[in-house]
């Protein structure tokens, strides 16, 4: 009986426990409004000047700091919270990118490019909330965990040659930051699927339903990012609150079939698109777990200005058609759905124009009436995206396998004159530029060879560089890191930094499998701390609800990444070890053979032996032969004549005989075939 009762009790306990927990979880949702786990899903669409479309998915889950059982979550992915707990991550960002962000035509100043344009491959940085001496170990474990989580070779960042610890140039600067990139990592669906698994609705409902793999990966740029911040736990025993921000930025080319068929005059009309035409899917309802689920359509400043210009030319009616009642069907373009709200950017000092944001709420749509936003352009529009003050480019100089140079060229963009305009009256208008460059150890950079050219004039390094921090590379231990703060005059049109390097040699087993491709130098980061990429939208009341828009309002410095460089290093012929082994073995054999010979042999004894031998008799066989021949010839034994003949180097008689026999054989063969 007792035996029977005990399991029952246990069962009861379990049930009640779970029920209690459930209660607690719900209680937390119901009672304390600020302490619930939340999930937001948003999508931003933005037409780009070169007939492409930027789609930016933004998902945010947050877990509040909780006292007790942080192991159980309602919405928040468990894997992430465990990771944060275990590795004491304070802030972390992981991005998988394919393709290059085209800073020139897609802009470099808005919040989207400056925080979502990433270098090709994998980039990972993390700030740890741990004592200094533990950080490297934590980083290594973190890379392995992430590698398993995202099916990527992030674990290669474990080696100390692959990551670096920037001091102050990387924006979330602190001594506890580790930064590493893998420029060659290929990005594919196997990385996207685990990323999607972190979403409560995965890609089964809500905005993430749009993520049709073939159409995403057909894009021109694809960057999948995961950013998490843990808000420090206030008291002991409290698990930290975590905000997980997952973004996917894709640049797509809408099908321009119509454009190709059209005549030359119509060729310059932007392609029209709809969600179903670019993704092949529609949004049929929101993810029910999401707090908000919105789609935004953004017209950036340049485009708005251009559109208004067109309107003014056409008809001198209302001032601002874009926010008037008939906005969705204005002379320039037509939206297929009616937006729920329109936001106008708070005009900043910098420019008169403000970007316009249309908001669509998904809640209204469902299975029967799926949401499918479409845009139909009516007139050709040409505009430019807002550029970062300087356009950064990086390239290699020199040729040959011995040495080379890296050049970072900064070119002023036309739009930057606008930024400078307000400041240019000041006497000392200066533009601050931070440069952060990691160089692998086999590219041996000579930091003393740093040269600066401003407007094609060589300048003293100390005039331009305000602050420099260099940690030289150690062979096979750590990469070289260069952090620079440049102060450039605002009026500059171009600046070039060059630094020379020698190409190192690797040990044969350090070469990667495709060594002849060359070796990558990761992107340099050029940031402009005086410029902030932010967009503040009016009508702030509802913004609290939208993480995307509040993200836009954050004051983050404008950042841009340069190209990845490919340095051809000397590679050995990998079949060479075989040849080397063969040759060394031959040499060794010869050496040891002669050495043994010399050691073993006793010259005097040998001479004596030779004498003895000669005294005894001459070689047996020649003697026999000569005896035989002598017998045949009639007993004329001529001993001395025979040995000279045999000792001659080439016995002409025997050679003749061999030739004769060979000739006979050849003739025989030839005759009978």
């Amino acid at each position: 009986m007792a035996l029977l009762r005990r399991p029952l009790l246990l069962l009861l306990l379990i049930v009640t426990h779970q029920f209690l927990q459930f209660r607690i979880a719900f209680g937390s949702v119901n009672e304390e409004g600020q302490k619930q786990e939340e999930f937001y899903e948003e999508l931003l669409l933005k037409p780009l000047p070169d007939r492409k479309l930027l789609t930016h998915f933004h998902f945010q889950s947050s877990a509040p700091p909780s006292t007790s059982n942080g192991r159980h979550h309602h919405l928040f992915p468990k894997a992430i919270s465990q990771l944060v707990l275990k590795f004491q991550v304070k802030e972390m960002e992981l991005s998988f990118t394919q393709g290059r962000w085209n800073y020139e035509s897609w802009g470099g100043f808005d919040p989207i490019p400056s925080s979502n344009a990433k270098p090709p491959g994998v980039e990972l940085w993390a700030v740890f909330d741990a004592p200094q001496h533990l950080i490297d170990a934590l980083w290594k474990n973190l890379t392995h965990t992430l590698s398993g989580l995202f099916c990527a070779s992030i674990n290669f960042l474990e080696s100390s040659t692959a990551y670096s610890a920037p001091d102050w140039s990387f924006p979330p600067a602190s001594g506890k930051l580790r930064y590493g990139t893998l420029p060659r990592e290929a990005v594919c669906t196997e990385n996207l699927t685990p990323w999607l698994k972190l979403l409560p609705c995965r890609d089964k409902a809500g905005i993430s339903m749009l993520l049709d793999r073939p159409s995403i990966y057909r894009g021109f740029y694809h960057s999948q990012r995961l950013h998490l911040t843990s808000t420090g736990s206030g008291s002991e025993g409290m698990d930290p609150g975590i905000i997980l921000e997952q973004t996917l930025t894709v640049v797509l080319q809408p099908d321009s079939q119509r454009a190709s068929l059209a005549h030359a005059s119509e060729k310059h009309i932007q392609p029209s698109w709809s969600l179903s035409s670019i993704f092949g899917k529609q949004i049929s309802g929101r993810c029910v777990l999401a707090e908000t689920s919105n789609v935004y359509f953004l017209l950036d400043r340049g485009l708005v200005a251009e559109l208004e210009h067109i309107h003014k030319e056409n008809e001198k009616s209302e001032e601002n058609v874009l926010i008037s009642e008939k906005f969705w069907n204005n002379p320039s373009f037509e939206l297929s759905a009616k937006p729920d709200r329109i936001f106008i950017e708070e005009s900043s000092l910098l420019s008169k124009n403000a970007s316009v944001l249309y908001k669509f709420e998904i809640e209204k749509y469902g299975e029967s009436e799926p949401f499918d936003l479409g845009l139909f352009w009516k007139t050709p529009v040409v505009w430019l995206c807002q550029q970062a003050p300087l356009h950064a480019n990086r390239f290699l100089m020199g040729s040959g396998n011995e040495r080379g140079a890296i050049a970072i060229s900064l070119k002023s963009t036309q739009s930057s004159e606008g930024f400078m305009g307000s400041n240019s009256n000041d006497e000392r208008c200066e533009l601050r530029v931070d440069v952060f460059q990691v160089v692998p150890w086999y590219v041996k950079v000579y930091f003393h060879s740093l040269q600066v050219f401003v407007d094609q004039q060589p300048k003293a390094v100390s005039d331009i560089i305000e602050k420099i921090h260099v940690s030289p590379s150690k062979d096979k231990v750590s990469p070289g890191v260069m952090e620079l703060v440049l102060t450039l005059p605002c009026s500059l049109s171009s600046a070039v930094l060059t630094i020379e390097f020698d190409k190192g040699f690797l040990h044969i087993d350090e070469y990667p499998p495709d060594a002849n491709q060359g070796f990558d130098i990761p992107s340099a980061i050029v940031s402009f701390p005086n410029f902030h990429a932010r967009m503040v939208f009016l009508e702030n009341d509802s913004l609290n609800k939208s993480p995307l828009l509040s993200k836009f309002q954050e004051k983050s410095p404008v950042m841009s990444y340069t190209e990845v460089l490919l340095v051809p290093l000397t590679t050995p012929d990998f079949s060479m070890p075989y040849n080397v082994i063969t040759i060394t073995c031959t040499v060794f054999a010869l050496y040891f053979g002669s050495l043994l010979n010399a050691l073993r042999r006793r010259v005097a004894e040998e001479e004596r032996f030779l004498k003895d031998k000669a005294a005894k008799k001459m070689d047996r066989i020649p003697l026999l032969l000569s005896k035989l021949s002598a017998k045949l010839r009639g007993r004329h034994l001529e001993g001395p004549q025979a040995p000279p003949a045999s000792s001659s180097f080439i016995n002409s008689k025997s050679v003749l005989k061999v030739i004769l026999i060979a000739g006979l054989a050849v003739y025989w063969q030839y005759y009978f075939s």
Binding site: P49, R100, P120, E607, L610, K611, G639, P643
Partner: protein
């Protein structure tokens, strides 16, 4: 009794066994005459056997996968290309005298495709003789004094960024174009390139960026490409007060283009770059028509006999022959095609091969006589152009930066109708597309296949392992002969002296004299050194002569010859009069001189074979017989036998042939006929050699000429 005699013999010489290797060496040295005859004939024979030994080419790099994808170039792209050809050949576009209009047209076409476009202005650099610039990597543009607005070229550069690539690598397509006097061929080549370019803006498989360089060839195709590459690889950032091209009024017209709608940010006047260059193709269409079928010629030789990776040629050959049905051609020496002796040699080889095959069916090394003749002609031209060390086209500029590049020249079967033009655009375009696609597939840079090879036909090659044999056989006798001469000279004088002196007087004096005698070669070495020094001076002289203004080639050449003779005489009298001082002591002085000469030639040829094999091979063919045969004429005259007479004759003939100018004129006469030979031609030739930094020039000046002088001095040796 015999045994006792034997015993006594062995008692006298308890022959200490000499090592076999040493014995072999001694044997070879003592039989050096036979060995050298055998080796030299074998070397020459091996050279003639090379076309027989050539292997079929094969694509070594698996990643290339040529022709595995069906071409995507359609008639739509061809008609695009045709449009450009029409616009360019339109007489209106040529109205402007600087040809800027056509550059604008090209740039506009590129912009319409969505490519990034920039103009690159350059001043043509005159090729000058820089004595210390041989082998040095190309440096950034030297500052030149006299830039003027009248002379500059404009390269139009269009870049397609690979949509999903990381932009680390790029493929370059070059079409030389002279806007001022462009033939139809050049326009057609632009049309082909444009049709490929327009396709490549749409494809999704692109992993490397594509750069299309329209090189302004009004100052030469090479100069334009080299200027662009110099700017690409080693740009100069500081412009120190040199007048810039931007200041010229004409150039600014170029940038009025950018008003166009979508161009927007895509056009910039700054220099644009893509990543590391993986390969480059230079595309040309010849104006002259081919009679039989559309052919495509491949030019591959870059400076100093460097060749691009064989895989690049293989890919082009494979695609052209098996996919596009074009005939592929490699440069040949046409004059050799009709030579009867080659034909008979080919027939001999063929019949020999037949006999061999009948003996043993697996011996299949024979090739038909006609094929042999063609192979030899191709091989000879391959050797000749490699030996010259002058690039055969604009692709040479790429090789200086370790980029594999070839020039493709399409010579179409000419007819004027539109169908034909579309056809050539389609086939040429598909060929280029296929090659670019193959290179695009490449994960690593070209490294799998051969870099050292000689072509005997577009699909046959001789690799370094085979052709080295011929050269090695040729120069193998040199050290042996040198050693045997040295030994002879020493021992003969030793004997003569030993005979005269009484055996009792073998004391320390004799030891002393022996020591002196064994160091006697130093005297000859001094002579050889002086002559080589003279050679260095002679090869430096043109640097000064070229500074003399208004000098015709003939007078320059004469000045050069005069100065050379003068310097030889001065050196001779100042440093030493070795020929004069020799008379006092030795009678076999010439043998020592010959021995040292031969060793120096051996060293020179060995070094040269590393730098430029073909030069060394041709040099060895000329110099080895001359060195080996050289003997004072007086001795031969004195001997009066048939053998010495033959030797004298051959000595005289070789002495004439091996003189570099004589060899040049002989070669020129053989190729173009002797009618228009001019003394100044040699000067021009030499000028071209140093302008291209060819190591052949150094070889001629510092190895061949001194060797010839030394041999001549041996011939006229008085004792």
């Amino acid at each position: 009794m015999a045994e006792t005699k034997e015993k006594s013999l062995s008692d006298e010489k308890p022959k200490p066994r000499v090592r076999p290797i040493v014995r072999l060496g001694i044997f070879l040295i003592s039989h050096s005459f036979h060995v050298s005859v055998v080796c030299c004939t074998a070397g020459v024979l091996a050279l003639f056997l090379l076309p027989v030994l050539a292997k079929n080419t094969y694509i070594s790099e698996n990643a290339l996968m040529p022709g595995s994808a069906s071409p995507m170039l359609s008639n739509q792209h061809v008609s695009d290309g045709n449009r450009l050809v029409k616009d360019l050949t339109n007489p209106n576009s040529k109205s402007s005298e600087t040809g800027i209009e056509s550059h604008k047209i090209i740039a506009q076409y590129m912009l319409d495709l969505g490519a990034e476009v920039s103009f690159h202005k350059f001043h043509p650099q005159m090729n000058q003789f820089h004595p210390l610039h041989f082998f040095s990597s190309p440096d950034s543009g030297k500052i030149q004094e006299n830039y003027s607005c009248s002379s500059y070229g404009i390269n139009t550069v269009g870049i397609i960024r690979a949509p999903r690539g990381d932009g680390k690598e790029a493929i370059v397509l070059v079409t030389p174009y002279n806007a001022l006097k462009s033939g139809f061929g050049e326009a057609l080549s632009l049309g082909i390139a444009y049709s490929v370019f327009s396709l490549l803006t749409q494809v999704t498989w692109l992993a490397k960026d594509i750069i299309w360089l329209v090189a302004d060839s009004q100052y030469g195709e090479y100069a334009a490409v080299a200027a662009w590459l110099r700017e690409y690889q080693t740009p100069k950032f500081s412009s120190l007060s040199t007048p810039n091209a931007e200041m010229c009024p004409d150039v600014n017209n170029l940038f009025e283009l950018k008003g166009h709608s979508i161009s927007g940010s895509k056009f910039s006047n700054s220099f644009r770059r893509a990543g590391t260059m993986a390969a480059a193709l230079v595309l040309k269409v010849r104006d002259q028509n081919e009679q039989f079928e559309d052919t495509i010629s491949i030019y591959a030789e870059a400076s100093n006999g460097q060749m691009p990776n064989l895989d690049l040629i293989n890919v082009v050959n494979y695609l052209a022959v098996h996919r596009q049905g074009l005939r592929v051609n490699v440069e040949k020496l046409w004059s050799l095609l009709n030579s009867s002796w080659l034909k008979s040699l080919g027939e001999i080889f063929e019949s020999l091969a037949k006999v061999a095959k009948s003996l043993y069916p697996k011996w299949k090394f024979g090739i038909p006589a006609t094929e042999y003749v063609e192979g030899t002609a191709t091989l000879a031209s391959s050797l000749y152009y490699q030996a010259l060390g002058v690039p055969t086209g604009p692709h040479g500029a790429f090789r200086d930066y370790q980029v594999d590049a070839i020039t493709l020249e399409i010579s179409p079967k000419f007819s004027l109708d539109k169908v034909w033009r579309n056809d050539i655009l389609l086939r040429g375009g598909r060929l280029i597309e296929g090659v670019i696609r193959s290179v695009n597939n490449l994960l690593e840079k070209f490294h799998q296949s051969f870099f050292l090879y000689l072509l005997t036909s577009p699909s046959k090659f001789v690799s370094v392992g085979v052709y080295m044999i011929a050269f090695a056989l040729l120069i193998a006798p040199l050290p042996m002969v040198a050693a045997s001469l040295y030994v002879d000279a020493n021992s003969s004088s030793n004997c003569s002296k030993g005979d005269s002196s009484t055996p009792s007087a073998i004391t320390d004096t004799d030891e002393h004299s022996f020591a002196i005698r064994s160091w006697r070669w130093l005297n000859s070495a001094k002579l050889v050194f002086i002559v080589h020094l003279w050679g260095a001076i002679v090869s430096l002289l043109p640097y000064f002569i070229s500074r003399i203004p208004d000098c015709s080639p003939t007078t320059s050449f004469m000045i050069w010859v005069l100065l050379s003779i003068l310097s030889l005489l001065t050196l001779n009298s100042v440093l030493a009069s070795p020929l004069a001082c020799a008379k006092a002591t030795q009678e076999k002085e010439w043998a020592l001189v010959k021995s040292v000469t031969i060793s120096s030639v051996f060293i020179g040829l060995g070094l040269m074979s590393v730098i430029n094999f073909a030069t060394a091979e041709i040099g060895a063919l000329l110099m080895v017989p001359m060195c080996l045969l050289a003997q004072p004429l007086k001795l031969d005259v004195r001997a009066g036998t048939l053998r010495s007479f033959c030797r004298m004759i051959s000595n005289l003939v070789l002495g004439h042939i091996a003189f570099p100018p004589a060899a040049f004129f002989l070669l020129k006469g053989m190729l173009d006929g002797f009618g228009n030979a001019n003394v100044g031609d040699f000067w021009m030739w030499v000028e071209s050699l140093w302008a291209w930094n060819s190591a052949t020039y150094l070889f001629i000046g510092m190895v061949q000429l001194p060797c010839w002088v030394l041999c001549i001095s041996i011939l006229f040796h008085t004792r």
